[in-house]
Symmetry: C2
Amino acid sequence: MDDDLKVLLVQRRVEPYQDFWSLPGGFVHMDESLEQAGLNKLKEKTNVDDIYLEQLYTFGDLERDPRARVITIAYYALVSSERFTLKPSDAVSDVKWHSIYALPELAFDHARILEYALQRLRNKLGYTTVGSQLLPEKFTLPELCSIYEIILNKQIDKRNFRKKIAFLDILEETEETTQKHSKKPARLYRFKQSDIVELPQAGRNVIQPKIPRSLKGL
Amino acid sequence: MDDDLKVLLVQRRVEPYQDFWSLPGGFVHMDESLEQAGLNKLKEKTNVDDIYLEQLYTFGDLERDPRARVITIAYYALVSSERFTLKPSDAVSDVKWHSIYALPELAFDHARILEYALQRLRNKLGYTTVGSQLLPEKFTLPELCSIYEIILNKQIDKRNFRKKIAFLDILEETEETTQKHSKKPARLYRFKQSDIVELPQAGRNVIQPKIPRSLKGL
DNA sequence: CCAAAAGTGTTAGTGATACACCCATGT
DNA sequence: ACATGGGTGTATCACTAACACTTTTGG
């Protein structure tokens, strides 16, 4: 919880794009499912398993890698960075979290992949409970709200937010409140279902960027 | 235009799944982009090029094909079936359009792929102009409406539909009307932009299944 | 007692749905 | 003249967005 949306990047030790930052990845083995392969790659660089990966898109343009034709099946996941202890592997010189709003220049077409991922994440936020991945089991409503604010990169009205969440009926109150936050204590909540669920139609578009009527002429 | 949503399937001549119907496909060559590969495969079986393909999803489970590990990068497209003349290739015994609402048993995990595709298509219909792919350049509003009805598999109120379309401001009137449809002639329209565009936020959910409030508890 | 964050309701506007009749043509 | 499909308007309801003050705690 440090109020930023970050991406895990690894720094390349070898050409091409030596010293550039890139998305962690590797080859899919014959005996791994795609998702399992993603999990394995991730485990090599970090210490997390038991994490929800979602397939993003498959990138297969011919010029993606100057050395050879490479097809990348991109996955993404959300985690609290607290759950990680990074461990650089041999092939890379460094592994680090980077704010998605202040990225270095990336290797290959990885900037494009990230852009696509961010867009997807923002959409998903509107009709699923993906946000749950970024919080501990129990959390406060202001914390949940700030997940939305950080990912959507805009301010959200907290009264409307609370109303919407209440209507969606996806949380349950606990008896506990925060302490020592040096301010007024906040009630802790937990998700009724721990996995990511689709919101009912009526409750979609939880919070989405407002687009003025005048743009209708698209 | 025969009032049904159909899928192009090929019948397998060889094991496994001999005589089963399956989605057309093939291997991606080293020097083809993924989309180009899709177009090429399609061209082998039909006679269309110049068609908009969209990547659906990449399926990579280990048990998909009993012979070997196969990763399938699925694409889908929409076309008026009139634009096609089918030409069976050597590897298959037949190529045919099948109503998506009355499919035979399919080879491999192709039923699942199709299900996924239909779901995606229905969603896209709500916030893009994909439907345009299924119509000739000039078409009537009832025709456009029936595209929605067929794909969503439900009735749509034509007054609300016309209102919504007008508001979206994506069509332009032509001077022409239909003739000889043996009934009252209908005005012909055309899309202002010939490609698929995203609808403005305000105009999304053109037509979507109504979900009663009482389901809010997901 | 002051600063900081938590918590709480109402109103106005906009988009969605439901619904029934007249019109133009071909036969 | 009639059958068929094209075309049109209104009223209600539900969701969204905007907005300001009080409460609780720690220092």
